[in-house]
């Protein structure tokens, strides 16, 4: 086993790890060694083909099919140089003040987070797309939402030179999305930070990590690792964990930190979501243009958010409830489909947690609470109203039984769409906003880290990803993760200097 020594090791290269890497570049210039260990591979620009099966296999944990322990929900997590910032849609929102205040973490101010978020919004070229780049799928959402009495808002997105491929969730084929793979990591590497891909951290001890570097299997996508395949012992004065919710808490648990940190793994939330589709009489532009440009936020009032979306054939087929002729009829209407993603603003509850199996693989235990099911039902009713107000002929609503609602049935939306129709294992629920498991707080009694991401009782160890969230953020977490990571980097700089 080879031994490598560094001053700082960052585990993970997504929104958290990429940010910390960039912010620690000054350390390299003062002679320190900063390493980033990323489990996924580094993709070449030309490898982002937009081919659904290949990209899902290459970019996502378990090919996008990671399931919760009971199999009732799929979790989407990126595994690449740049983490999930490579394959998300680029939506970039500031944390709501009410949520940050509700977390009740002393020393964590909303103003501070927003100020830090602004810096990364600017770096990522975050802006709202001009009207002429908005496709019909998004335009109909806005029109329908207004007609149904909602207030649609436009997402700011971190794209530069977007061609409107609609393939964001498979990695942008045009390099337009300004994730950490395009902005922070290249800057860090240019400044001397070393990034090692295909490097799987398998255990943590006191200021040391066991690392397994994998070879590239034949025919696999992505570049070979920067290090030779094999096992390494990496020693560092400071370790920053930024492997995400399915990376950081499971790694800590597998490494034996659990007994000293009773809250480790707890506080998991994820914005459970599913899609609704509606069929229009005429073809619309839906598989061209940015897929996620607008949303309706009903988080405060009803515990849900509606977002525009457009998925690829297999993901769409998988996410529609049921099968057979009705299912096929919607699929065959693909060029006439409008799509809405409904997300529930779930809350951290006892029992919903992330863990680790005996081999160190992540496990997630999640139960849909009655408030979450009711939020999903209310969201489904609202989405159905928006579709019909936009002129749809029929709607596929997962919480209606049967799921197909004709336009003539629009007045019966309230009675047809009910939470009691929610039967786990029949409705395709998925989540991509994984949060919690190493929450920050005021002491080891209520949390895993302090307000600067330092693990209680282990001053050399910090967390800089969404597992820091003590509860749901209720919006896309990208900018907030970067803001928190910026704080962590500031703390590391103070420690080292």
């Amino acid at each position: 086993m080879k031994t490598v020594t560094a001053d700082v090791v960052i585990v993970g290269s997504g929104a958290g790890g990429g940010t910390v890497a960039q912010e620690l570049t000054p350390l390299v210039q003062s002679g320190k060694r900063v390493l980033v260990l990323e489990r996924g591979p580094r993709f070449r620009d030309e490898e982002f083909t937009g081919h659904e099966l290949d990209m899902a296999d290459g970019l996502y944990l378990d090919g996008g099919g990671f399931l919760t322990a009971d199999g009732a929900m799929t979790l989407a997590v990126g595994q690449a140089y740049g983490g999930s910032t490579v394959m998300y849609t680029g939506t970039s929102l500031h944390a709501p003040a009410r949520v940050i205040e509700g977390w009740g973490v002393q020393g964590l101010g909303h103003d501070d987070l927003v100020e830090r978020s602004r810096k990364y919004a600017e770096e990522g070229h975050v802006h709202r797309l001009p009207d002429k780049e908005i496709n019909d799928n998004n335009r109909l959402f806005v029109e329908g939402a207004k007609a149904a009495g909602f207030t649609p808002e436009q997402f700011p997105v971190n794209v530069k030179g977007c061609l409107g491929s609609s393939l964001c969730n498979l990695g942008c084929p045009n390099g337009a999305k300004q994730g950490t793979h395009k902005v922070q990591l290249p800057r860090a590497e240019a400044g001397g930070v070393e990034v090692v891909t295909r490097a799987d951290v398998i255990g943590i001890g006191d200021r040391e990590l066991g690392v397994r570097v994998h070879s590239r299997s034949e025919g696999a996508m992505g570049s070979v690792s920067e290090w030779d395949p094999g096992e390494y012992w990496v020693k560092a004065e400071v370790v920053v964990l930024a492997g995400g919710v399915l990376g950081t808490p499971p790694l800590l648990l597998h490494s034996g930190f659990g007994p000293r940190l009773p809250n480790l793994g707890h506080g998991f939330t994820c914005h459970p979501a599913f899609i609704l589709v509606a069929e229009h009489p005429e073809e619309i532009t839906n598989d061209v243009g940015h897929p996620k440009s607008f949303f309706v936020d009903r988080g405060v009032e009803e515990g849900f958010v509606l977002e525009t979306c457009m998925y690829f054939p297999f993901v769409t087929a998988k996410n529609l409830t049921g099968y057979g002729p009705d299912h096929a009829a919607f699929m065959n209407a693909y060029p006439r489909l409008q799509m809405i993603l409904v997300l529930a603003c779930d809350k951290a509850v006892p029992g919903n947690r992330v863990g680790s199996d005996s081999a160190g693989n992540p496990t997630v235990h999640y139960t849909f609470t009655p408030p979450v099911v009711e939020s999903l039902a209310a969201a489904t009713r609202s989405a159905a109203r928006i579709f019909f107000a936009a002129g749809a002929l029929r709607v596929h609503a997962p919480l209606a039984d049967p799921p197909r609602l004709e336009r003539s049935e629009a007045p019966q939306i309230d009675e047809r769409i009910q939470g009691r129709s929610f039967l786990p294992g029949t409705v395709s629920v998925s989540a991509a906003h994984l949060m919690g498991g190493a929450g920050m707080g005021n002491s080891a009694r209520d949390s895993v880290t302090d307000v600067w991401g330092r693990v209680h009782g282990h001053p050399w160890l910090r967390v800089a990803d969404a597992s820091l969230f003590p509860d749901s953020l209720e919006i896309n977490p990208y900018l907030t993760i970067m803001a928190l990571a910026d704080r962590v980097a500031e703390g590391v700089l103070e420690d080292i200097s």
Binding site: L53, G63, G161, S166, P173, N174, G299, G324
Partner: protein, 167 residues
């Protein structure tokens, strides 16, 4: 169908898999042998990297689902007419037992993966996403309007400094 060293998961269970597919997938007339073989190749490829426990569960579930109708009809799923297969699978889909619902959901997902990842099927339903996006959709007129700095021909403006991006 499989690369060297890949142990097939579904080959010995082709009949029950196709019996479920005949109900789950679009019209049987669209499912000729070529489509089936390609679907099975895609499914095998996806399963190749899965843990052996998952592969065992899939095999076990397919055997179980094929056998279960014997208890009430004295026929396996494969031997049932399509209408009765559909009725049986509908009961499974709404079963009070989560493992049965979850198992059917998993097989259904695999079948959709095998079917909707075939290029002719994707074209057939009208899916036309292209890496060139708007340019591919509207053709050369948009391409001509591009500038080197803004390949999409867009007029992207960063948010004004005082404009919030709060949710």
């Amino acid at each position: 169908m499989n690369g060297p060293g890949i142990e097939p998961v579904l080959s010995s269970l082709q009949a029950p898999l196709r019996a479920i597919g005949s109900v789950v997938l679009p019209s049987p007339e669209a499912l000729d042998e070529e489509v089936w073989l390609e679907a099975e190749a895609i499914m095998e490829r996806a399963l190749a990297s899965k843990p052996s426990g998952i592969k065992r569960q899939i095999r076990l579930f397919l055997r179980l689902v094929n056998f279960l109708p014997v208890l009430t009809t004295r026929r396996t799923l494969v031997k049932l007419p399509v209408e009765r297969r559909a009725a049986f699978l509908h009961r499974l889909h709404r079963s009070p037992l989560m493992p049965l619902r979850r198992g059917l959901w998993g097989i259904r997902t695999l079948l959709f993966m095998g079917y909707y990842n075939q290029e002719p099927v994707r074209r057939g339903i009208g899916y036309g996403a292209d890496p060139w996006g708007w340019t591919a959709h509207f053709g050369d007129q948009l391409r001509e309007a591009e500038t080197p700095d803004s390949p999409g021909g867009g007029t992207e403006e960063p948010l004004p400094e005082d404009e919030e991006v709060d949710s």
